[in-house]
C-alpha cells in the first residue's frame, strides 16, 4: 500500500504513514466512513426497492403507447377508459395493434389465514404481443376459463409450492368467491401496495369483478408499426382523442411519470427520498468530521512543513491521499455490511432490496469525493495562515 501510494503520488506516502502511525484513530476513521456508507446504502436501498417495485408493475407488459384515464397517477390507479378508444386509436396511422388491459386488486386469503393483496392484470389471451415474451406461452393457456398465472414471489406463500406450479400441477385457490387454477407463474414480487400479482384472461377478469364491463378497460395498450416513432404516434392518438378524459403517452414516459409521482408525491416515496438525502448528508458530515479532525491533529506538522517551503498543493495531496485510503478501506466493509443488511431486509419484506453495481459505484465515488472535498475544506485554515501562527 505504502509503495503503491508512493508511486501514485511520486513522493513519500506521508498520508498513509500518518494513518498507520495511529492505528486506533485510523480504525475509528475507517469505521466512521464505513458507517456513513452503510447509512447511505440502506437509505438508497429502500428508495431503490420502491422504484424497483414500481418498475415491476410494468414488467409483464409490452407496449409502445398507453392510453390512460386522465386521473391516473400510477399504473394501478385512476378510473376507466372507454373501449371506443381502441377503434379510434387503430384508425391513427402508425398504430399497429391495440389491446385493452383490465387492472384491479383482489384480496386473497393465504393458507395461513392472513389476507394478501394481489395486483390483477386482465388481458386477452390472444394479445400476446402485449406481454413479456416469457409470458406468451402461458398467456395462451389462459383461454381456459378460471385459470390464472400466479406470482411465484407472492409474499407469504410457500415458494416451493409456487415453483412447482405447472399446467399439470395447477395451484387451486379462491378469490372473490371464484375458484381459480394457477397453471403457470409470473415473477413480479411483492411491492409496497400489493403482496403479489395475478394474470388472468379478460373473460376471467370480468367474472372476478361482476361490476366491471368489457367496454371500460383500465388502460388501452398500443403497438406501433415497425419504423413508427412511438412519441409521434402517441401525439397523433392524443390529437385523435382530444376532448376525451384520457392521457396518451409512451409506456416508457408513463412509467417515468409514475416513478416521479410515487417517489416525490406519495408519503412512502417522500420518506424514502428524504431518508436517502439525510443519509447522504449525515454520511458527508461523518466523513468531514473524520478528515477535519485528522487535519487538525496534524496541523502543527503541516505548519512545520509549510515553514520548510512546502506549498498548499502538497498538503492537499496528503489529505487526498488520506481521503483515498480512508475512502477505499471504509467503503469495502461498508459495502459488505450493506449487502448483508440488504439480504436481511429483502428476506424480511420480500421487497427487491439489492446491491447494484451502479449504486455501489456511485456511493464509492461519492465517498472518495466527500472525503477529498472534506479534506480540502479542512486544509483551508492552513492555506491562509503564516506558519508561525500555527505552532
Amino acid at each position: 500500500m505504502a509503495k503503491l501510494l508512493g508511486r501514485l503520488f511520486g513522493r513519500l506516502p506521508i498520508g498513509w504513514l500518518q494513518l498507520v502511525h495511529n492505528r486506533t484513530r485510523m480504525a475509528a476513521a475507517i469505521a466512521g466512513v464505513a458507517f456513513a456508507n452503510v447509512l447511505v446504502f440502506v437509505q438508497l436501498g429502500m428508495l431503490g426497492a420502491l422504484e424497483g417495485t414500481i418498475v415491476a408493475t410494468y414488467d409483464p407488459l409490452r407496449a409502445d403507447v398507453v392510453i390512460a384515464p386522465g386521473d391516473a397517477e400510477t399504473l394501478t390507479d385512476g378510473s376507466l377508459v372507454a373501449r371506443s378508444a381502441v377503434w379510434r386509436a387503430l384508425a391513427v396511422p402508425g398504430v399497429a395493434a391495440a389491446a385493452p388491459l383490465h387492472l384491479a386488486k383482489v384480496d386473497f386469503t393465504r393458507p395461513d389465514g392472513a389476507i394478501a393483496s394481489l395486483q390483477v392484470y386482465g388481458i386477452a389471451p390472444e394479445a400476446e404481443a402485449f406481454v413479456a415474451p416469457a409470458l406468451r406461452e402461458d398467456l395462451a393457456r389462459l383461454r381456459l376459463r378460471d385459470t390464472a398465472l400466479l406470482d411465484s414471489a407472492t409474499r407469504g406463500l410457500d415458494p416451493d409450492a409456487l415453483a412447482a406450479i405447472g399446467p399439470e400441477r395447477p395451484y387451486v385457490f379462491e378469490v372473490n368467491g371464484l375458484t381459480l387454477s394457477a397453471t403457470g407463474t409470473i415473477s413480479l414480487g411483492a411491492g409496497f401496495t400489493a403482496d403479489g400479482a395475478l394474470v388472468v384472461s379478460d373473460q376471467t377478469f370480468l367474472r372476478l369483478y361482476g361490476q366491471r364491463v368489457s367496454g371500460a378497460p383500465s388502460r388501452v395498450l398500443l403497438r406501433v408499426e415497425p419504423g413508427a416513432v412511438p412519441v409521434a404516434v402517441a401525439n397523433a392518438v392524443a390529437a385523435r382523442l382530444a376532448g376525451e378524459p384520457v392521457v396518451v403517452s409512451t409506456l416508457e414516459a408513463a412509467m417515468e411519470a409514475d416513478l416521479a409521482y410515487q417517489t416525490t408525491q406519495r408519503p412512502v416515496g417522500l420518506i424514502f427520498g428524504f431518508g436517502a438525502a439525510i443519509g447522504v448528508l449525515v454520511g458527508i458530515v461523518i466523513v468531514y468530521q473524520v478528515l477535519s479532525t485528522d487535519v487538525a491533529d496534524h496541523l502543527r506538522e503541516y505548519a512545520t512543513l509549510k515553514a520548510m517551503g512546502y506549498a498548499h498543493p502538497f498538503f492537499l495531496g496528503i489529505v487526498f491521499e488520506e481521503a483515498l485510503v480512508l475512502g477505499i478501506l471504509g467503503f469495502l466493509p461498508g459495502l459488505a455490511l450493506a449487502t448483508g443488511i440488504y439480504a436481511v431486509m429483502a428476506g424480511a419484506t420480500g421487497l427487491p432490496v439489492e446491491m447494484t453495481l451502479v449504486r455501489a459505484s456511485a456511493v464509492f465515488l461519492g465517498t472518495i469525493a466527500a472525503c477529498a472535498i472534506s479534506g480540502a475544506i479542512a486544509t483551508r485554515r492552513l492555506a491562509g495562515a503564516d506558519p508561525a501562527e500555527l505552532f
Binding site: 506521508i14 506538522e301 512543513l305 520548510m308 506549498a311 506558519p387 505552532f391
Partner: protein, 262 residues
C-alpha cells in the same frame, strides 16, 4: 562594504499582535544587517520579541511595517509563491523539535531535501544518512521521533534544517528542551556544520557557554535592540540596492557536496 551582500537586512521593523484593544506592539523599529557566514546570537528575556524577530526574518510571519530583505528579496508584501521559494532556501530549527511524528528520523530529514524536487534518490539517501551519522544518529536512522530522546530529536531537526545546505539557518532556542549537556552538543554541531559550509546562522539561546562561539551578540528587550556587540563593518545601513545576490544558488538543490562535505 563587502563584495558579499548581506543575506538579511532588517530596517525599521515594527510588529504588532492582536487587534483592537488587545493590540500590542512586540517589535519597535528593529534594524539589523547580518554578515554572510557569521553566527549571530539573539538574546533577551522571555517575551522580548526574539521569536517574533526570527520568524519575521525567516519568512514565517507576514511583515507588517518596516522592511526585511531576505537573500536579496523584500519580504514586505511579497506574494506567497515568493515566500514559499525563500523558505526553501532557509533552514529553520524550532524551539520544539517539530518533527513529523509519523516519519522516521531518515524520512524527516529527507523532507528537507524533497521540498526541492525529486532529484536523485540514491544521492538524497546518501546525503541524509551522512548527515545523520555526522550528528551521531547512525544507529537511529529508522526510529520514529517518539523513540528518540530529546537531544536526539533536536539533532534530527538540525539535520533536517541543514540537509539541503541552506544559505541561512535560523534556530530558535534549539536547546531549550534539552539538558545542558545534549544542548551544548547540538549547538556545537550546528556551529561546526555552519562554519564548514559558510552558512549564516542566527540563533536564539541562553546558553552562556556558546556565547564565545558567536561572531556577534544582539540583545533584545521589550521589542527593542538594546545591545549589539561584535558588530561588523557591513552592519551600517545598506547603501546599495539591486545587487545580485551571490548566495542565491547555494541552497537551491541538494548537491553531492551535501553528502561529502563535513
Amino acid at each position: 562594504m563587502n563584495a558579499a551582500v548581506s543575506p538579511v537586512v532588517v530596517a525599521g521593523l515594527d510588529h504588532w499582535f492582536g487587534a483592537g484593544e488587545a493590540r500590542k506592539q512586540a517589535l519597535f523599529d528593529v534594524s539589523l544587517v547580518l554578515d554572510p557566514g557569521t553566527l549571530t546570537i539573539l538574546m533577551g528575556p522571555s517575551g522580548s520579541g526574539k521569536t517574533t524577530l526570527l520568524t519575521l526574518m525567516g519568512c514565517l510571519r507576514e511583515v507588517q511595517a518596516g522592511s526585511v530583505r531576505l537573500l536579496g528579496t523584500e519580504l514586505a508584501g511579497a506574494p506567497e509563491p515568493v515566500r514559499v521559494g525563500l523558505r526553501r532556501r532557509l533552514g529553520f530549527i524550532f524551539q520544539a523539535h517539530n518533527l513529523h511524528a509519523s516519519l522516521t528520523a531518515r524520512q524527516n530529514v529527507a523532507m528537507g531535501l524533497a521540498v526541492h524536487g525529486r532529484g536523485d534518490p540514491a544521492l538524497q539517501t546518501r546525503a541524509v544518512e551522512h548527515l545523520l551519522r555526522l550528528l551521531g544518529l547512525g544507529e537511529r536512522l529508522d526510529y520514529l521521533p517518539d523513540n528518540l530522546s530529546g537531544g536526539q530529536k533536536q539533532r534530527v531537526a538540525v539535520a533536517r534544517a541543514l540537509v539541503s545546505n541552506p544559505a541561512l539557518v535560523f534556530a530558535d532556542e534549539p536547546t531549550a528542551a534539552l539538558d545542558k549537556e545534549s544542548g551544548h552538543t547540538v549547538v556545537a554541531m550546528l556551529r561546526a556544520l555552519g562554519r564548514e559550509r559558510g552558512t549564516t546562522t542566527v540563533m536564539v539561546t541562553h546558553d552562556n557557554r556558546i556565547l564565545d562561539l558567536a561572531d556577534r551578540i544582539v540583545t533584545l528587550e521589550d521589542g527593542r535592540i538594546v545591545s549589539d556587540t561584535g558588530r561588523s563593518r557591513s552592519s551600517r545601513p545598506p547603501v546599495r540596492a539591486g545587487v545580485n545576490d551571490p548566495t542565491s544558488p547555494r541552497g537551491d538543490l541538494p548537491s553531492a557536496t551535501a553528502a561529502t562535505s563535513g
